[in-house]
Chain length 406, copies 2
């Protein structure tokens, strides 16, 4: 395809591009059951109500003797009360025996309280002699007992629909005996590499060819944000080929990402294909790197044309696609990790474009590692990046900057 | 098992427990090859050297005309030079033709530079008439050309052994055509639930029984930190059963985590089993929740007895086990996300123990959600926790605290 790059429409600010994209993305509604362990870092798709009490029974919170508290009220350090020990209760076992006034039962932490007992005297303040137990310290009713339902009531909604399942929440589901958990499906994201010079890493390069980088960086970003990447073979830059691919993919995918080769000319073919099948919503963002990003829709499925240069593609994936993927998958907002650093080189930026500059950090100093716009190594060696807003032209050496860590 | 809990040895400070444990943990050395996409968020196990140049050839960085720069030196806005167009070069194709003085070749971004050309005049400053091209702007040698090896030199070590593979690094490996990547294996972590009252979530509860919570929270923590969790059936609290299980597991695992039921008595059996098969290194940490943690070694394999209460187990997993897992798996240090908040309730703490208090955050205010030590729901509803150091007894309502987010 040799042709002049079609002029962009008016470039739109990054914030506007992001909100436009987010407006068109609908959170997934398909649900599935997965095993409890597979539910970790998924999104709960129903209010998880407990159909049991946790703990399921009154249980001893200490090793000792289950008693009627009133039998111990007279006990003192030098003046024990004596109770008759009528049995032993292990954790995991229940006992039919009921204690009456003057009796006690030896009990292990976690064992169910026997009938008639209302408290546990801890073993440290007792002395056992055959079937008699001396109690040196009184207890009040309920002391050293975890009552049934103390943690979770039967019928209680323990976790609300749409929460992200952390380790602790997996634990709460386990406590209620949830073997399977209903979560939202992971949205399916089509990743389609294009470009006449682009070939898969499995192949040998012929003269004039380069390897497909963007499918792999996009696959990782899609995985990271709760979606399933489905990448296909490289599609050649023809309108017919692209139209066919779009029609096939929008049927089965929740979003489709086209990743160009290095040629900006590719975008023209994609824009024409999109235009004839659906609508083009924007083309061109005031974002550096990332300007030539294309966004449209075909039959309600968002279709995005990513910039071809690997750094531009990855930067756009992080700034624009990540929030969209997380809205789709219902993941919580990305938590950024930031650190302050002193810039070690003067940076000039393009007025009117939000620019991202990758840096390496050493001992609180930030060193720009930008090579040129195609260089994936500049991002590979960076620890993070900082933003230069649209209206800033210059950041001086020695300025304190806020670095967002990868 | 009904017995008095064996007294702990002297409780050791949390920092000492952590450094002792880390000293005994050796980073994994086993390696494996995985596909490029599966290498995301794994640890590279060799210096990744490029056996090719990236880009592999001099290529056009713009759509336009490949020229000899010296042919354009006389060009001006009102006084173009005319060159003879002798062909077209698409991306992905190479051409045998060589240009000589006075000639040019139309070229697409990403296409290899033809022989004899040293620069590209961008299409915007040209005018084409049949096979003649008017050039309105001079270029210097190398202008608008990405030279072979600009990003990566052949023989260059692009990524060093032991780096964590981020999206950008996956991209760098793709650019070099690495279809398979050598990474460290994920360490295998045995997770063994114990406790006579503990049953798997797949089973129906009988009277006196509770569900196994800790295996599931530990499984999630192990997964999160680059290791493979391998959990087994619940083991009853007998020395013989535990010894058999330990001997079986230390052969195949890089670390073994025992997770008790609620009974602190369980720990006594485990400590005896450990003592007879290997060595006990510490028992009891000045950590709340998390005190009854046990650490030992059997044939060089670290064996850890986790506290039985779900919150204590999970807190210990996050404070103590997470750094150990990450050392094993060679993952980078856990990046904590913090936020400041105003404590809405006065908290008293135990002097002499590092305490962790879970809180919910709303509008910059932190509300403690601690219920009681067994309550997993308190952690499930929390957004994070804050640390109360050993030597602090009281944190006042209205104090600013630093909350570590889950």
């Amino acid at each position: 395809m040799i042709q002049k790059q079609r002029p962009f429409g008016e470039l739109i600010p990054y914030e506007e591009a992001l909100s436009t994209l987010l407006n068109e993305v609908k959170p997934i509604d398909r649900k599935e059951f997965v095993s409890l362990d597979d539910a970790f870092e998924r999104v709960l798709a129903y209010d998880a109500e407990s159909d049991m009490f946790v703990p399921p029974f009154d249980r001893a919170a200490m090793d000792g003797f289950a008693v009627k508290a009133e039998d111990t009220f007279e006990a003192g350090k030098f003046d024990p009360v004596e109770l008759k020990n009528i049995g032993k209760l292990h954790a995991g076992k229940s006992l039919e025996k009921e204690i009456i006034k003057g009796e006690c039962i030896q009990i292990a932490t976690g064992a169910p309280m026997p009938k008639g007992a209302d408290s546990v005297v801890k073993v440290e303040v007792t002395e056992k002699e055959k079937n008699l137990v001396k109690i040196y310290d009184p207890v009040h009713p309920g002391e050293n007992v975890s009552p049934k339902g103390e943690d979770i009531e039967k019928g209680e909604i323990v976790l609300k629909k749409d929460v992200f399942l952390t380790s602790a929440r997996i634990g709460a589901l386990a406590a209620m005996g949830k073997e399977k958990v209903k979560v939202y499906e992971k949205p399916k994201i089509g990743i389609i590499p294009t470009g006449d010079e682009v070939v898969s890493v499995e192949r040998e390069l012929k003269p004039g060819q380069i390897y497909d980088v963007n499918s792999h960086t996009l696959t990782s970003v899609v995985n990271k944000n709760g979606c399933i990447p489905l990448s296909g073979n490289v599609v050649q830059d023809s309108i017919e080929g692209l139209k066919e691919e779009i029609e096939k993919k929008v049927k089965n995918m929740d979003m489709v990402l086209f990743s160009g080769g290095s040629s900006v000319g590719d975008k023209d073919v994609l824009i024409d294909a999109l235009d004839s099948l659906g609508e083009v919503i924007f083309h061109g963002i005031k974002l550096k790197p990332g300007k030539p990003t294309l966004f449209g829709k075909v039959k309600d499925t968002p279709v995005i044309g990513m910039p071809g240069y690997p750094t531009s593609c990855l930067n756009t994936a992080q700034q624009l696609i990540t929030p969209a993927l997380r809205k789709l998958s219902r993941f919580p907002e990305m938590a950024e990790r930031k650190t302050d650093a002193i810039l070690q080189k003067r940076i000039t930026s393009s007025l009117g474009r939000q620019q991202y500059m990758t840096v390496k950090i050493e001992n609180g100093n930030a060193y720009p590692v930008y090579k040129q716009s195609g260089a994936i190594t500049s991002m590979a060696q960076a620890d993070g990046y900082f933003e230069i807003p649209e209206n800033i032209e210059l950041v001086e050496k020695g300025d304190k900057i806020s670095v967002i860590l990868f």
